[in-house]
């Protein structure tokens, strides 16, 4: 603050000094939006720079001598509440990592599980979380083969934090990632968006809607492998977790250096999710999902991709939502239901509920 600054114009056109840099970590730095990407770009990527990390993908694919190509990824889970409609932190920790492997087109094989437990956590809660992880691993076709447990003092954690890392095997020759995206590619989603984020928010904030909105949490490897087995030349995959569909589209557009156009009217979103978003002033395109992904495929493979996804997905309805419209100038354009185009940007920080 600058109580001594005298500004003769303060009663006329007044405006604040800029907050140019945050000197502390904000919650928004983990929100999947622009602040988080700044953090990755300015802190982590330069420090750890190497070619494999430079793939900039959900999981990194690498070769080991002459053996098969492997995919490797890691993710930490800090969700509150630990149990939510449609899932819990344990199931999330398994599927989250399995899904990152799937986004590299890999068949998930093995996971590690690291637990940071807070003193005072009910053993019963831990037991339920672990049981849930075991059942999720079976469902996703992976084994948890190594792990670690630490306990921190009460107040130093939030019940339980889980880190999982995962290894999968790549059984195809495709280079799946933003760099393979081409002009003319068609973009599909495997289902309706926004359920997970709204489900968590409703429990966390004690919001009651007429129906309980359950998380869309599910393992995605089966759907991805079905696409590959059908012979579809998958160019890029991305799960739409934090930051939602808008962040996923922007990440790929930036990474590929392409212009992308999606049609608002084609993007599936359930009425209850949209209603909740209307009330809170959120855009469903920015809301997190845990069982939804984008697939970029050549236009000639789009129909087959859609029918394949429809065949293996019973819980939600896949849809074609847009296409890659140009190369050179990266960005995402949304064609509104009323016709005019608008920019679809990444979320800035956190989604904050509106005042009115």
């Amino acid at each position: 603050m600058s109580p001594d600054s005298k500004d003769e114009r303060s009663m006329q056109i007044s405006c604040p000094l800029p907050v140019t840099q945050y000197s502390n970590v904000l919650v928004a730095h983990g929100g999947g939006g622009r602040l988080m990407h700044d953090l990755l770009r300015k802190v982590f990527f330069p420090a750890f720079a190497n070619e494999l990390l430079g793939q900039g993908h959900d999981a990194t694919v690498f070769g080991v001598a002459d053996a098969a190509r492997l995919a490797f990824t890691t993710d930490s889970f800090v969700v509150r509440p630990l149990f939510f409609p449609g899932g819990d932190i344990g199931r999330l920790a398994v599927y989250g990592t399995v899904n990152d492997l799937a986004m590299a087109g890999a068949r998930p094989l093995y996971l590690s599980a690291g637990f940071i437990l807070e003193e005072g956590l009910a053993i019963d809660s831990l037991w339920r979380i672990v049981q849930s992880m075991a059942s999720a691993a079976t469902q996703a076709g992976v084994q948890i083969i190594t792990g670690d447990t630490k306990v921190v003092d009460r107040g130093k954690g939030d019940g339980v934090f889980i880190n999982t890392s995962g290894v999968g095997v790549v059984e195809h020759q495709l280079q799946i990632g933003p760099r393979s995206v081409r002009e003319g590619d068609v973009i599909l989603t495997n289902g309706d968006i926004g359920r997970h984020g709204i489900s968590i928010l409703a429990v966390r904030e004690g919001l009651e809607f007429e129906t309980t909105i359950e998380s869309d949490l599910m393992p995605l490897a089966r759907q991805v492998l079905a696409l590959l087995e059908a012979g579809i030349e998958v160019h890029c995959l991305r799960d739409m977790t934090r930051g939602g569909m808008a962040s996923a589209l922007n990440e790929i557009a930036d990474g590929a250096g392409v212009a992308v156009t999606v049609e608002e009217g084609l993007i599936p979103c359930r009425d209850d999710v949209r209603a909740a978003c209307e009330i809170l002033g959120f855009d469903p395109l920015h809301v997190a999902n845990e069982g939804r992904f984008l697939a970029f495929v050549p236009a000639s493979h789009a129909d087959l991709a859609l029918s394949t996804l429809s065949r293996v997905t019973t819980e939600c309805t896949p849809a074609i939502i847009g296409r890659v419209t140009g190369s050179g100038e990266a960005g995402v354009v949304l064609k509104s239901i009323l016709g005019p185009n608008r920019v679809l940007d990444m979320l800035s920080g956190e989604q904050l509920p509106r005042i009115c």
Partner: protein, 363 residues
């Protein structure tokens, strides 16, 4: 989705835009008062659907935008005091004061909480008698009844640990200030539907009488806004200036009487400083003497801050309809939602943030 989709029907939108186009014989400049309307206009591209002779200007009706930085400095100061739980609507957390925003205060250890209703803050106060709970009571007439109710409830529960930091503003004085400013280009207004659902629209009748401008009480969905524009243009073309009500499904002339009584019971009309515009007489609400003990500014010793101004930002001119966001040299260059120079870039309802989010920055 019922009650939403009907108002976003593409066929009806096209019908209405054609009707507007057939009505227009010359250039008209209309200001939508409310930030929610600005957001809808830019999000759906309604301005692009209108005939080029209709010029929409974005008004001062974003409560986040017009809250003066001094109030945010006070909020950050109080939040950092020991033993305080500071409660606010979500989108106020990212609005910078002179130096910091509340999110930064939170990252330094202040207990800053988002609430969805001021009554939740009262509940927090009741559950934490050893803490001082402060609610940032900002907004227009829309949020005033709930804020008044919170203070009233705290008084009836005799809570000693609840207070509000008040910076309430009123719409009619702002419209008068805009119309009285030299060089004002606004020929008609779309008034904010939700403000009128509380206050009614009789307050606008003297303004229409005095300044001879049409004011149409308008809702927030695409069809609402286009119908509001249609009604406003029809008045302008016919040389009429009246208060008309497009938002009749929510708004009555007299408004919501019990809500108004509650506001009058707790608050009184006071002069207020508007961020970007300056002080407007009788343009805000402050606590009445009977409720003064719930005023956070008397409960805490808050240093007076004279907010300094950023030179590049033109948000004041934007809020008064003299400029549009892309006219600003800092727009999307030095000023972005991550690092806003002015409040119109912070709130999702601010005109600059709406342009930044939804319009190409390469124009």
């Amino acid at each position: 989705m019922k009650y939403v989709e009907e108002y976003r029907d593409p066929a009806k939108v096209e019908q209405l835009t054609r009707k507007i186009a057939s009505l227009v014989t010359r250039d008209w400049t209309i200001m939508e008062v409310c930030g929610g309307q600005t957001h809808s206009i830019i999000k759906y591209g309604l301005d692009e659907l209108l005939p080029p002779r209709i010029h929409l200007l974005h008004g001062p009706g974003c409560p986040v935008c017009v809250t003066p930085s001094e109030i945010l400095d006070k909020a950050v100061f109080i939040a950092a005091e020991p033993n305080v739980i500071f409660c606010s609507f979500g989108d106020m957390l990212r609005v910078p004061g002179t130096v910091d925003d509340l999110l930064t205060a939170k990252s330094r250890g202040a207990d800053v909480r988002i609430v969805y209703s001021p009554l939740d803050a009262v509940k927090i106060a009741r559950a934490n008698p050893e803490k001082q709970v402060v609610f940032l009571a900002v907004g227009f007439e829309t949020t005033a009844p709930a804020n008044a109710l919170a203070v009233h409830q705290a008084a009836s529960w005799e809570l000693e640990n609840f207070s509000v930091l008040v910076s309430h503003v009123l719409v009619p004085p702002a419209i008068e200030a805009i119309l009285s400013a030299p060089g004002c280009r606004v020929q008609g207004f779309l008034a904010a539907g939700h403000v009128c659902s509380v206050m009614g629209f009789h307050e606008y009748e003297p303004i229409v009488e005095k300044f001879k401008v049409p004011i149409v009480v308008t809702g927030f969905e695409p069809l609402d806004i286009l119908q509001g524009v249609f009604m406003c243009v029809r008045q302008l073309e016919e040389g009429r200036s009246e208060v008309e009500n497009q938002y009749a499904r929510s708004v009555k002339r007299e408004g919501n009487r019990p809500a108004q009584e509650l506001i009058r019971k707790v608050f009184q009309v006071v002069p207020r400083k508007w961020r970007g515009i300056g002080e407007i007489p009788a343009s805000g609400l402050g606590l009445r003497d009977e409720y003064r003990k719930f005023d956070a500014e008397t409960r805490f010793v808050v240093p007076e801050v004279n907010a300094s101004t950023g030179s590049e930002c033109i948000s004041g001119l934007i809020l008064q309809g003299f400029k549009k966001p892309p006219d600003c040299p800092a727009f999307a260059v030095g000023c972005t939602p991550e690092h806003p120079l002015g409040a119109t870039m912070v709130s999702t309802e601010g005109a600059c943030a709406a342009y930044y989010r939804y319009r190409s920055r390469k124009q």
